[in-house]
Amino acid sequence: MAGTEAPRVEAVRLSRFEQLPWRRIILIILGIVVIGVVGVGATRTLTLGKAEGGYSAGAWRDFVVQGTAQGAIYAMIALGYSLVYGILRMINFAHGEVFMAGSFGSFFFADAYEKSGFLDRDPILALAIVTAVAIGVSVGTAVLLERLAYRPLRNAPRLVPLITAIGASLFLQNTFRGFFGPQPYGYPKPVVLAGNITVLGVPVQRIQLLVLVVAVICMTVLQWFVSTTTTGRSMRAVAQDREIASLMGINVDRVIVTTFVIGGVLAGIAGVLYSLTFEQVQFTMGFKPGIAAFTAAVLGGIGSIGGAALGGFVIGLLQAVGPPLILTGFGIPSVFSLKDAFVFLVLVLVLVFRPGGLLGTGEAEKV
């Protein structure tokens, strides 16, 4: 062998500067800053005297209850987002309008029952029928959406169904506006749900208690459904790998429709609970809860059921407890005006440290 020598590969030597794990260092510094800000803010708020704007124990207790009740509603809507994302890898931005449709649909029955007195004579039956109507309208809207807007785009590039979803959302909002007008309608609340009730020494509004109980029951039933029944397992299979699942004999179309139906059921129940809490329906009512629920789903780990539930409660609590706890200590005058900024800042920070969300795998997933 004359002449040809293998070229010598020199190991690339990094300088000390380049060897440091910069990403980890920045994350650690950021983490320390965040914990510092939270700690300092919280301690200062909690040590404020009443006269300087401090809060009593009763106020904190009320903030937690309000946040949890609101979070329960967000959790139920967020489940719809997570389920559809798990199966189709797309965000159903029109889910907020599915929620609104159920609310609006049930309004006419609820209003009629209140006028005739049925709502107060037999509230359980009346509310059951009203919820059934809400579920029917929500499921109908969800299934129509799937059939008309999303199924034709099953194999399109990921961005296309996203834009379609936004278009569907606007379409639904304006359809309801066209039919029912832009003004808010007062939603009746049965007398039995008015007022407070004391649970374990904590005064809670009756409607808040109902919301919490119903939400927990729904999430438990959903968890049982997805883990034990055949349909539930088919859903998990399709979510894992659509092609192989269809090869295994699962009717993928039917499973996808079932997913939308389940999302619609939860949205319909959430719609009735929301309308009973705020006693108002309007064509724009799906927009803000939709965004909050989507944020919750991402925060908890999009595609994961436990993540959506956890994310919902976290967002609810952040909105109610976060600004007073952390921002009052810094002397900011109107802390609740920063409520939305606060929630989205927390979302960004969570995604920086755990790109897959709180219950995600800890790795980034490209949408």
Binding site: S56, Q66, F278, S337
Partner: protein
């Protein structure tokens, strides 16, 4: 080679048509100049040329669709009555101004900045518009419609904008004026009422939203409340599209304020009334005309009992014989209903102020056509002094406020002066102030 010929012919045709279009604009209204010493060709902003057989074009930028449509439609109706009354009587036949008929061009401003942008652009692009009566909502005017029209020298005069920011010396557009009151006065009267004998409040909290109208009112209230010896215990801001105000209210309830003032719009206001009834039942609630609507009474139900609302007190006009004897019957005859909102008289006065100014500055070119110099029209409107309008005496200040003495009334729910108001719907407290009396 064939292509070359077609191309040349096409290019020539294109150039000729562009030249023709450019030349076409110069025709008509060539008169110009004339008496009055104003040379329309050189004066800043030029003149509006109204041909011998043409109508004088009055623009209107009002909200005529959506949740706040009653506010704008009411004023458009008043403008049509103003056109009718040009001949001196309400006979549902329009009169003429300087022998020219007047026509109304209405644009919808949607009670938002985006709507103000669209309406302002559409009206500013029309060279025949003499002046614009509008906008309905302060958010459509501030920095949007007032700038778009002011840059073209078109006068914008409003019958219902009340935000103090619009006539703030730092922000005021020279081509903007209003016959509606300045909310510095309304906020001051609410503060005076809160401190006074009826409520005797020592502490107050406020909730504002992101609109200039609300922030102007809250700012004026807070300044006057503290100057009068009260203590402000909390000042929060919310988003007008929010629904859950329980944490905000619970936070403000900590300091147990005597009064909660939240001059926001119907959707959020109704929710706060309902939620505050449970969270701060001992605090007196006060709202302003943004919430004074039949929808609020309907949706808040029992919770609206005992809620105070401030608003221009129209009963002051009832003593004006022209208003109750001629204007209101004409309104009912022409539109089949009572007035929809509270600013119709202000819009009517705005239109008449403009008509008077046109009579003063329009140049008769001798052939039946008119030239109306824009700058002179604006100066004439701003020089209005002691004009007896339906709403009172109108004297325009250099910063654009033309309503001198403003009467604000406080109404106790459910006795609000709107459809659905129950019981005694007269004001329980009224006061009249002018801008010099308030902070």
């Amino acid at each position: 080679m064939k292509h070359r010929r077609w191309f040349k012919a096409f290019a020539l045709l294109a150039v000729l048509s562009v030249v023709a279009a450019a030349c076409a604009n110069d025709s008509g209204g060539g008169g110009g100049g004339g008496g009055g010493g104003v040379d329309c060709a050189t004066v800043e902003f030029g003149c509006v040329e109204v041909g011998a057989d043409e109508a004088i074009n009055l623009g209107a930028a009002q909200v005529i669709s959506g949740a706040d449509a009653t506010l704008g439609q009411d004023q458009v109706n008043a403008l049509e009555l103003a056109l009718d009354h040009l001949d001196g009587t309400f006979d549902q036949k329009d009169g003429t101004l300087l022998d020219h008929p007047v026509k109304l061009t209405t644009e919808d401003e949607l009670c938002s900045a985006e709507g103000g942008q669209t309406a302002g652009t559409a009206l500013a692009a029309d060279a025949s518009i003499v002046a614009v009566i509008g906008t309905s909502c302060s958010s459509a005017a501030l920095g949007v419609a007032d700038k778009l029209l002011g840059d073209k020298g078109i006068l914008l005069i409003s019958g219902s904008n009340t935000s103090p920011a619009l006539t703030d010396p730092a922000l005021h557009n020279p081509f903007y004026a209003r016959t509606a009151h300045n909310d510095r006065i309304q906020g001051a009267i609410v503060a005076e009422f809160a401190l006074g004998a009826d409520l005797g409040a020592k502490t107050a909290a406020t909730i504002a939203d992101e609109s200039p109208y609300t922030q102007g009112l809250v700012g004026a209230f807070e300044a006057n409340f503290e100057a009068g010896g009260g203590t402000l215990t909390g000042s929060e801001q919310v988003d007008s599209e929010d629904t859950d105000f329980k944490p905000v209210l619970r936070s403000l309830a900590e300091q147990k304020p005597d009064v909660l003032y939240f001059p926001i719009f119907v959707a959020a206001c109704t929710l706060i009334i309902k939620q505050a009834a449970e969270i701060m039942p001992d605090t007196t609630l006060i709202v302003s005309d943004g919430c004074l609507s039949s929808d609020t009474l309907k949706n808040a139900g029992k919770a609206a009992d005992g809620v105070w609302a401030s608003s221009p007190d129209l009963s002051a006009f009832q003593t004006n014989e022209f208003y109750s004897g001629e204007f209101i019957p004409a309104y009912q005859a022409a539109f089949g209903s009572d007035p929809l909102s509270v600013f119709h008289a202000h819009a009517y006065d705005a239109a008449n102020v403009v008509f008077e100014a046109i009579k003063k500055v329009a140049i008769d070119n001798g052939d039946g056509s008119l030239s109306i110099p824009r700058q002179a029209l604006r100066d004439a409107v701003f020089a209005t002094s002691g004009y007896k309008g339906v709403t009172g005496t109108i004297t325009c200040l250099p910063t654009g406020d033309c309503a001198t003495d403003v009467t604000i009334g406080m109404f106790l729910g459910p006795g609000w002066p709107v459809e659905g108001g129950k019981g005694d719907t007269t004001a329980k407290y009224t006061d009249t102030k002018s801008l010099d009396d308030v902070l």
